[in-house]
Amino acid sequence: MTEIADSNVVAGSGQPAGGPASTAPARGARVAEWVMWYGLSVFAALVLSAVLVEATGGSWRPVLSALIDGSLRAPGRWGETLGTAAPLLLVALGTVISAKAGLVNIGQEGQLLIGAAMATYLGFVIGGPGPLNMLVVLLAGALGGALWAGIAGVLKYWRGVPEVLSTLLLVTIAGQAVAFGLRYDWLLLAPEANRGNRNQVSDQIPDGSRLPRHTLFGNEFPVTVFIAVALAVLVAWALARTVWGFRLRMLGRNPRAAQRAGVSQTKYGSAALLIGGAFAGFAGAAMLAGGGFAFGNYRLVPGFSTNIGWTGLLVALVAREKALAAIPVAFVFAALRTGSGFVGSTGVEGRITDVIQGLLVLALLIPPAVIFIRDRRRARAATTART
């Protein structure tokens, strides 16, 4: 009898969000709802930003215009934005994979940096002819990132250290380690002849080993962009359609059910962590070999990661752990980054642009939270009715 009553609750009451009986119109309504919430909150963030700019003595029109110029409109800028979006997307994909396994890896910034450092080191140690060396550089990056995340994995599965702590703390260590490496020429530092008056820079990646850059309508960007998008599709497919992805999701959603079903937490969990790190490290190597003035211009420098790891983590969060959704989100975040580079020229204080960026990020994070809380409240009301 209960069952009949229950199915009435679900089907009969025009079940709200996410109901099993979501027919085509219900899904349309849901999409419209999402669009509305995003529109509303981004608009609110823009209004707040405008108020802020006006209050600090600027005027909002030129700021908005600079933002758009810097990210899209000015010559060559959207190529720059794409080039920034690619590593963001790569980092986000790795985050998606570890998050699906129920792991909170927040050390992408460090994994990326170590990846770049490893790429630099092995790239020069092994050397070799151009294209082959390029491959070495990229693989070394992935290896470095995986290694760095692997430390957290060993600590977690051998000693039970929460990965959220270890990955975070390893970021700091990574920064120090790379700074150390950049002080000795037997590690990362460039030979004196090649570093000009700078200390603490690596040698430039030789021409033949650099990632090819692609030009489209006068906009230039590294092929990393295509690689990242292809990987996004691959990750989405692997998670949704392969047995491995299925078992990984099971582990993330219910570790005990997974354990009973034969999914080893140690095996799948550390694999997810290693792959997550590998993606971040790969992003680091691709930044190094892909060029772009913002990314050290083919050289490893202190602070090389420039928050790409952190932002990539944010991309994964905003995309709500969906690989394909991460593509547009990565682009938006990249646009915010390249766009705010131009805002400085309007005379608005640099810190204000940081605040604006923060507001926009918040605006992107709020709608999923609102909808999540509301759905849960409705679900809870439905369960109370049940008992």
Binding site: M1, A5, V243, F246, R253, A257, R260, G262
Partner: protein, 532 residues
């Protein structure tokens, strides 16, 4: 039944002002009406039974009485004065107390600390201890005030709950399904003190239950609810189990399973335990599952399983009886590869299984319907189809890639075979009712032709129809040669289907009886830990 009930004039007709009078109580949750124009009259000096299936509205009605839920319509009168009860504190002020079905005790604290919990102002341990002593003497509820609650048996814990409630000296006491975790012996004790509370103190007592024998044996009058309405209201004297069961279910109860679920067997006549519907299996048959000397030591050195030895042969249903908290969970976890053994072995199909290695038990052909399906049985955020292949994806995949069409076909077939009510294979698991989630688990576990089926509390929280279905499926499984291990704290359920019963006490098997030599008294003693 030693309190006078004037059955000729009907309930409450000539009585003085009733202690509580509920009229026209209605409560809706969305489209579901939990209580529909319900009336209830409680008198001092009487025990009033409220009988009904799961979801009949009993709990909602009681929650309204103690202020946990506000009714949409209707009035509440306490001692003739109309009132609104907004929260349990207000209810307590009006003299209404409740002993909850699920214990709300803190295991790490002592008895007196638990009793004093929620008091305002300065704590006076001596006074609390003394008050506990007084109540103990007065009602025969003997308890050691300085014992740690975590060390007590379920029966004693309930005693603490009752003392907690009686300490505030309520004039109206509600007992919500009080015997669900007690042994038969503990239940008898409980009803003794309950009777005392009523007769000696002139309190009004409500006993909420879905067990017929309890209501028959210990109440003076009974209100029967079905689907949110009161369907019958009568003095208990002069009625019988069959009448009550029919009123409660709304149709003739004929199937033995249903009567077992309603708790009829234990009272009707013991000859009922004649036939479980499954033949006993000869002891010489090679066991499908064999556990030898299994010991699991939990946190703090507690022996969750203590040298447990158990065999399950193909085609038999072994019932594991016992009061909850005596190792049932650990046994279920062990057979779900969720814990590893400190000593001992598990052998299935003649081969030793590595306990605690992920998936080892299921690969050895041990299927499990877990005690708490949300814990290890289903993934709520995945779809029905995905939950149906949670353990084994081989049948729907090729070279590590899931074949979506095959998955869908398989799910549709299972949904049809097991009559799973859902919006389709893609419906999220959380959208299904408990009974249907249980069917998904059952369908999945049986799909791989297991050698052994472990069913831990498989009917908990299900209603009569779903219970009947589940028991029938267990019988069918046994009939087809599966060795079934039924772990249940509902004795009736075990008596109904098991071909052999073992009793679990403090993590070890303390007794075993074949079906033909079942003896309720001995069973009760064993469950209570008395050597027999």
């Amino acid at each position: 039944m030693n309190t006078p009930v004037d059955s000729s004039t009907g309930v409450g007709a000539t009585a003085p002002t009733p202690a509580v009078e509920l009229t026209g109580i209605t409560k809706r949750y969305g489209a579901v009406v939990a209580c529909d124009d319900v009336g209830l009259t409680l008198h001092r000096g009487r025990i009033h039974g409220i009988l009904g299936e799961n979801g009949a509205g009993k709990s909602t009605l009681m929650k309204i009485l103690i202020g946990l839920v506000l009714p949409d319509a209707g009035s509440i009168e306490v001692d003739g004065a109309r009132c609104t009860i907004h929260d349990p504190i207000e209810a307590a002020r009006l003299g209404i107390g409740m002993v909850h079905q699920h214990f709300s005790l803190i295991n790490a604290l002592t008895v007196w600390e638990n009793v004093a919990l929620g008091d305002a102002g300065r704590l006076d341990p001596q006074a609390v201890r003394q008050r506990i002593g007084e109540i103990s003497d007065q009602y025969g509820l003997v308890i050691e005030p300085d014992a740690r609650v975590g060390d007590l048996t379920a029966g004693l814990r309930q005693r603490v709950e009752i003392i907690k409630c009686l300490r505030r000296d309520p004039s109206i006491v509600v007992f919500d399904e009080p015997t669900s975790v007690l042994t038969p012996d503990e239940s008898a004790q409980l009803f003794e003190s309950l009777r005392h509370v009523v007769t000696a103190e002139n309190r009004a007592v409500v006993l909420v239950s879905h067990k017929l024998d309890e209501v028959l044996n210990s109440t003076d009058e009974v209100t029967i609810m079905r689907q949110g309405r009161v369907v019958d209201r009568r003095p208990t004297a002069g009625t019988d189990a069959r009448t009550l069961a029919t009123a409660m279910v709304g149709r003739q109860v004929s199937l033995r399973t249903e009567r077992a679920a309603l708790g009829v067997i234990a009272v009707d006549d013991l000859t009922e335990i004649g036939d479980s519907g499954v033949a006993e299996v000869d002891a010489s048959v090679e066991p499908a599952l064999s556990i030898r000397g299994a010991t699991v030591i939990g946190a703090g050195g507690v022996r969750l399983l203590d040298d447990l030895t158990l065999d399950v042969r193909p085609g038999e249903i072994v019932g594991v009886a016992g009061v909850e908290g005596n190792g049932q969970r650990a046994l279920g976890d062990l057979l779900s590869s969720l814990v590893s053994l400190d000593t001992g072995t598990v052998t299935a199909g003649g081969r030793q299984v590595a306990a605690g290695r992920p998936g080892a038990m299921s690969r050895a052909g041990i299927a499990v319907i877990p005690e708490d399906r949300h814990d290890s049985g289903v993934v709520l955020d995945m779809s029905v189809a995905e939950n149906l292949v949670l353990v084994n994806q081989r049948r729907v995949s090729r070279h590590g890639v899931i074949d979506q069409a095959a998955l869908r076909d398989f799910a549709l077939r299972m949904i049809a075979d097991f009559d799973i009510q859902c919006a389709g294979p893609d419906a999220p698991m959380w959208s299904l009712s408990g009974g249907n989630q249980q069917r998904v688990v059952l369908a999945r576990e049986l799909a791989d032709d297991p050698a052994v089926l472990v069913a831990a509390q498989p009917t908990r929280g299900l209603d009569v129809g779903a219970i009947e279905y589940m028991t029938e499926r267990l019988r069918l499984a046994a009939a087809s040669g599966v060795g079934v291990l039924l772990i249940s704290s509902e004795l009736e359920e075990i008596l109904d289907v098991a071909t052999r019963v073992v009793v679990l006490h403090q993590g070890r098997v303390v007794g075993e009886m074949a079906h033909h030599e079942l003896d309720l008294e001995r069973l009760g003693l064993l469950m209570g830990g008395a050597a027999a």
